[in-house]
């Protein structure tokens, strides 16, 4: 048993006086429990427009839950979330759907629709919302697939693709409507190092070319250091630390140090 006591600084202040006037995403006091397990416990976080924020933390700390709250895929127990000044917690379905069109989401397992071809997967959102013809939708889908380095897979089913290709197809689907925000849930998990790096390059490329605001949830530190403008560490239901890549590298915050060094001993514990 680890008997060392760690003195941790208080969580950083992540609130703004007027969240309704904040240009990016403001998360204030968000709590979520699943049965007896309190996953988020008054989480505060600010995501500035145009930045790539990487949220790091151990598995099961609620990173994906936080991500899903931003687009209200989960209903929070307490707290409030503003997107460009609009509070989403009480939004009606129609308005929420409109707001979601500003987002692209890359799921951990890509979440491609099994019964549709890759082209149909990528083009579905266009078919539903853009009023483009079938040919135009296909052309745009192919263009997005080319952006992520996928060619000649348009008519294949997702089951015919490798894990890395599925992730890239998922990314093509996420950018097809030119979203303002892209949320990445463990984009490199389960991929080999080379494919992981290719995905990292894609995230950077998309951020530069499309100017999107990206929120990436990961525990893959090489990936986090490569793509982040700013990093936030989530632990015990709260954001414990935020800082630039350089600040993360040099901090003496015990939790962050333990996490980035992959040390079993420390305030985060091993199990």
């Amino acid at each position: 048993m680890d008997l060392v006591e760690y003195t941790l600084p208080p969580p950083p202040d992540q609130r703004v006086p007027d969240p309704a006037a904040f240009a990016g995403i403001a998360i204030e006091g968000v709590s979520k429990a699943f049965g007896p397990k309190q996953v988020l416990d008054g989480t505060d976080l600010l995501i500035h427009k145009g930045e790539t924020l990487v949220v790091i933390g151990r598995s099961g700390e609620g990173k994906s839950v936080l991500l899903k709250h931003i687009v209200r895929l989960l209903e929070l127990d307490e707290g409030r979330i503003w997107i460009e000044g609009e509070e989403i917690t009480g939004l009606r379905t129609r308005r929420l759907m409109e707001l979601r069109k500003k987002f692209g989401f890359l799921f951990q397992g890509a979440a491609l629709f099994d019964s549709m071809t890759i082209c149909q997967n990528v083009g579905l959102m266009l078919s539903e919302h853009s009023g483009l013809s079938e040919d135009q939708v296909r052309a745009r889908a192919c263009e997005c697939l080319a952006m992520v380095g996928l060619e000649n897979v348009e008519d294949k089913l997702p089951s015919a693709l490798s894990g890395g290709m599925k992730k890239r197809a998922g990314l093509a689907r996420a950018i097809v409507m030119e979203p303002e925000y892209i949320l990445y849930d463990e984009p490199t998990t389960g991929l080999d190092p080379i494919t992981s790096d290719a995905i990292n390059d894609l995230i950077i490329k998309l951020q530069k070319e499309l100017g999107v605001t990206s929120i990436v949830v990961t525990h893959d530190m090489p990936s986090a250091f490569k793509i982040a403008d700013r990093m936030a560490m989530l632990s015990r239901g709260k954001i414990q630390f935020t800082g630039t890549v350089e600040e993360v590298r040099t901090t003496d915050h015990a939790m962050v140090r333990q996490f980035i060094e992959g040390n079993a001993r420390g305030p985060l514990g091993a199990f």
Binding site: R100, F107, M125, E128, R173
Partner: protein
């Protein structure tokens, strides 16, 4: 005894909760019905799933249902009732009860399992979340076409099943039971009442709704991985079969005692 009462109470509460949430799902689907024309390609796709895949099952079940009904009827009536009533017995049994209920149970189980497993897998692999993120409502894109397809196709399949069952009864009667063709057909015409057919079709229309709602409801509410999908599928099929039997009783009272009662 107290444990038994507690368990029974829990089951009743669960059934009531599911019924309430099922009613909310039905309402959500009905709200999406104005989009049915725009989503017709998805409805056709689902109609194909319901109809074409069920044909061998319907054909086999219906032929034997008709044949068995004929054999049982002959056994029960041979000493007391003239054979010209055989056709009446078969047609009434098939149109009112056997056709709609057995088609709903046999085709419905297959369809309900299909819906629950497919939607359940989509739920646990985050495909439903992906759809929501894309601002596409799963109720509109997935539930409504399946519901409409089932509600339209189950009665259609029932009409076919009725015809095949009557033909099965005819074959069994003529080939193995020493009943002449003209006697059987005379029986069919005797006491024929279109309300029997209409009543049976109203039943199968409602059964179609029950089957699809059960599959969609348990599919959408699947939790956990492969085990959860298996559990959801099983619960959906059991729930659908029990609901069909209960609804059959209630519809029998409403249709044949109150609405069509003379």
């Amino acid at each position: 005894m107290p444990i038994l009462v507690t368990n029974l109470g829990g089951l009743v509460l669960l059934a009531l909760m599911h019924t309430g949430r099922g009613a909310l799902l039905l309402r959500a689907i009905v709200v999406q019905l104005p989009h049915a024309w725009r989503m017709r390609h998805l409805i056709y796709e689902q109609m194909h799933v319901v109809a074409i895949g069920s044909m061998p099952l319907v054909l086999t079940t219906s032929v034997f249902v008709g044949a068995v009904t004929a054999v049982q009827a002959v056994y029960q009536m041979q000493a007391y009732v003239p054979m010209k009533f055989l056709g009446v017995m078969i047609s009434k049994s098939v149109f009112i009860e056997l056709g709609p209920v057995l088609t709903a149970l046999v085709v419905g189980s297959r369809l309900c399992a299909n819906y629950a497993a497919e939607l359940g897998t989509m739920k646990v692999t985050e495909q439903l979340d992906a759809m929501n993120i894309m601002a596409i409502e799963p109720v509109r894109y997935l539930a409504m076409p399946r519901f409409v397809a089932a509600v339209l196709m189950i009665p259609t399949i029932t009409i076919l099943a009725n015809g095949i069952a009557i033909f099965g009864g005819y074959l069994a009667s003529v080939l193995t039971l020493d009943v002449t063709s003209s006697t059987f057909i005379e029986g069919l015409r005797l006491f024929y009442d279109p309300l029997d057919v209409i009543g049976g079709l109203i039943k199968s229309f409602i059964f179609g709704g029950i089957i699809s709602l059960s599959g969609i409801f348990f599919g959408f509410n699947t939790e956990g991985g492969a085990e959860g999908v298996g559990r959801a599928t099983m619960t959906a099929v059991v729930g659908s079969c029990l609901s069909i039997l209960v609804a059959d009783y209630l519809l029998a009272i409403v249709l044949f005692q109150i609405v069509f009662g003379r």
